[in-house]
Amino acid sequence: MSNRYPGYDVLTKRHTPSWNEQTRTVIDERLSIDPEKHQFLTDAEWRILRAVCDRIVPQPPDRARPVPLAAMVDQKLHTNGGDGYRDARLPPLREAWRRGLAALEAEAMAQYRRSFHELPALEQDDVLTAVQKGDVQADAWRDLPAKVFFTKRLLHDIVSSYYSHPIAWNEIGFGGPASPRGYVRMYFDRRDPWEASEARPGREERARHENARVG
């Protein structure tokens, strides 16, 4: 777990002037996503997606409530939420994921003769790297360009889900919701008292103290 912003929790600002009612509603919904719930993907697809998410965004094992990444991607598939453009080389969202997950599984079988989700992490990374580079063996990629799927669908959907979650904001020291209060101090190395404090060497305790008071 990152210690750059020790003790910083954007959620402690929930009842400050940095959050308005509509933002509380939206974030509450995101926090209530059931990490086991999948409404669109089959159980088999779900196992692959979970394993993929664990490698694309490896979360610390000691995190009490990890970002429910796979469930967030499944929710996007369930609501069929588009981005407003689709690379002509890819089928529509749902079909792209269905075929992409099947192709990933086929690639794992082709390279290691095991299911993707059963592979050790390093070998899972090898499979994902091969897909990213388009250096693939499985026939399943014939109608689905591996590089395009990896970059424009797989990475896009998983990574954007992760960084829409408050836990990710804590990790990177993002101020989070900011209406109506906004910000005042805009200069180099200046922070408002309701922003994350960075633990530069020698000032970890001070950062922790300040981060306890952002709310």
Partner: protein, 552 residues
């Protein structure tokens, strides 16, 4: 106190029963005149963004009867906008569009709004004038095409728009002919803007505070900007001077009707070939609004899509398309960036994202191996967007992605708005797939040309040096991005080589007009919204003059 929950504006129209949303008050309603479908209004305007919204205001103030239709919802920013990138995707045009070519475009959040007020609800508010020579790019600079407009006339309209939006900008603008002082003072710079300034000064070029359409002091019902930094996901402060909160309240007060959640699918014409009104889908059924004139203002994808989809036996290639140019010359702007890491904390999420700018390479022609110009600006990407740059663009995932993202508060970047050249092969056509309205999905084809690539290389090299001079390290290039849309219904003074004339009136059908970014023959190196609004103001004046002479 908790306000009563109002009807979800994505589900049901709000501009109904003689009232439209009061954009300045939670739950508020202002009176709105309404017309029946059978009433022949003077103007049916398709789209309420920078082109259509501005024109709806001006025409209704000139006494014309106006119905303006928009496919998007009618927001009240104070009650509807959350501080959340994911949720606010509701502002974007996310209907299916297919992209291809050598450099398939990213649409949606990048350049396409689906809201009353259009993309100005989520734009970055950068409000720049064209360099005068760009209006005669072919004759004065040797590339692209000439506009049928005169820059000095446009200077007056720029002034009108800047006053209407109370643009916050510098006292003296460093480039181009004299312009008046901006109506409101410039915003203070954030650290990201100061990095741009330091780099420019180190390399000996001028920079300034970016003229922005967000107020730096109170203005009517708008409080000053609070530097929340979420401008591109919708301003919940109402400091941003979008079309939604500037031109449209005036349009309503002057008697225009605005129909939200009204998707126009087809324009009809009579036996003489003149258009008679628009078919639109609202509240679960297709309806037809009759009109003496139709203005298409759906931006550079929806505008040609509608004209092409309205083809008939009389106009087999679509309306206003005798030149064959409807949908062609889709022109974007290069939007490449250099990024680096600063020892200091930058926290570029604070304040409007592009507070500092240099237009040096728009106004300097020496030392270039390409046609056209570019501006570059400081940047303030929000986390989801930034993660997309690091993953989809840079290819990072796994621990490398997490490590890089952790340095979010130290990253700093410079990004261009660069002039791409018009090319006929870049175009909008209709695909075989159908959307939720049963309309053909647009196919959007785009490839950079060699000139575009030379401009991009020049810009990346120069900005890399500027960023380094300002003290950034680990500098890298983001090579794959574009911004804004133009072309696809270009204006000109020859019916064979253009779709509309200087007045935005189609050559083929005298009561059919196009008024949005589609009419740009060339694009310059500045964000287009101010120019689109200036053209709309001019078009309204021309329509008024033509009407007075009985030439409508």
């Amino acid at each position: 106190m908790r306000m009563p929950v109002s009807v979800e504006p994505i589900e049901q129209p709000r501009a109904i029963n003689g009232g439209a949303p009061d954009v300045f008050h939670r739950g508020g309603v202002v009176p709105m005149r309404q017309y029946s479908d059978d009433e022949v209004v003077d103007f049916a305007i398709v789209g309420t963004g920078a082109g259509g919204g501005t024109l709806a205001c001006k025409l209704s103030e000139y006494g014309f009867s106006v119905v303006a239709l928009d496919a998007g919802p009618y927001w009240r920013p104070l009650e509807d906008f959350a501080s959340d990138e994911n949720h606010q995707a509701k502002l974007y045009w996310t209907d299916e569009r297919i992209v291809d070519g050598d450099n398939p475009l990213q649409l949606g959040s990048n350049n396409s709004g689906k809201s009353v007020g259009g993309s100005t609800v989520h734009f970055a508010m950068v409000s720049l004038r064209f360099r005068p020579e760009w209006f005669k790019a072919r004759s004065k600079l040797g590339y692209g095409a000439d506009w049928p407009l005169d820059w000095q006339e446009m200077w007056g309209y720029y002034g009108e728009v800047e006053q209407t939006l109370k643009i916050s900008g510098p006292v003296n603008y460093p480039w181009g002919p004299h312009r008046p002082r901006y109506p409101y003072r410039a915003h203070e710079l954030n650290a990201a803007g100061l990095v741009l300034a330091q780099g420019a000064e180190a390399l000996g070029i001028q920079w300034t505070e970016t003229p922005l359409a967000t107020v730096s002091a109170p203005r009517g019902h708008s409080p000053p900007c609070v530097y929340r930094g979420m401008c591109v996901i919708g301003c919940s402060t109402n400091a941003k001077q979008s079309v939604l909160i500037t031109w449209l309240p005036r349009a309503l007060a002057a008697g225009a009707e605005i129909r939200d959640l009204a998707m126009v699918g087809r324009i009809d014409h009579d036996r003489e070939g003149r258009v008679t009104g628009v078919h639109y889908y609202r509240e679960g059924r297709w309806r037809f609004q009759r009109a003496r004139n139709v203005v298409v203002a759906g931006y550079s994808i929806e505008t040609p899509r509608l004209l092409l989809n309205s083809a008939t036996s009389r106009y087999p290639d679509g309306l206003a398309n005798s030149s064959g140019l409807v949908g062609k010359n889709l022109t974007v702007q290069a939007n490449q960036a250099v990024w680096g890491i600063m020892e200091q904390e930058i926290r570029s999420y604070k304040g409007p994202p592009s507070l500092a700018i240099t237009e040096h390479w728009n106004y300097t022609d020496e030392g270039k191996d390409f046609f056209g110009g570019y501006a570059y600006m400081s940047q303030g990407p929000l986390p989801m967007h930034w993660a997309g740059v690091q993953s989809s663009k840079r290819g990072l995932w796994g621990q490398r992605l997490l490590d890089e993202m952790e340095r979010y508060n130290h990253q700093v970047g410079l990004k261009i708005v660069g002039e791409c050249l018009p090319q006929e092969r870049n175009r909008v056509t209709l695909a075989d797939e159908r959307d939720q309205y049963g309309l053909p999905v647009p196919r959007v084809t785009f490839s950079f040309c060699d000139n575009d690539k030379r401009l991009i290389r020049h810009a990346l090299d120069f900005m890399g040096r500027a960023l380094e001079a300002a003290g950034a390290t680990e500098i890298w290039d983001e090579t794959d991005d574009t911004a804004h849309l133009h072309g696809t219904a270009r204006m000109g003074d020859d019916p064979k080589t253009s779709v509309v004339n200087a007045d935005c009136r189609s050559w083929d059908i005298p009561n059919l007009w196009v008024c949005d970014g589609s009419v740009f023959p060339t694009v310059g190196g500045v964000n287009p919204s101010l120019t689109i609004q200036a053209i709309a103001c001019r078009t309204a004046d021309r329509i008024k003059a033509l009407a007075a002479r009985g030439e409508l």
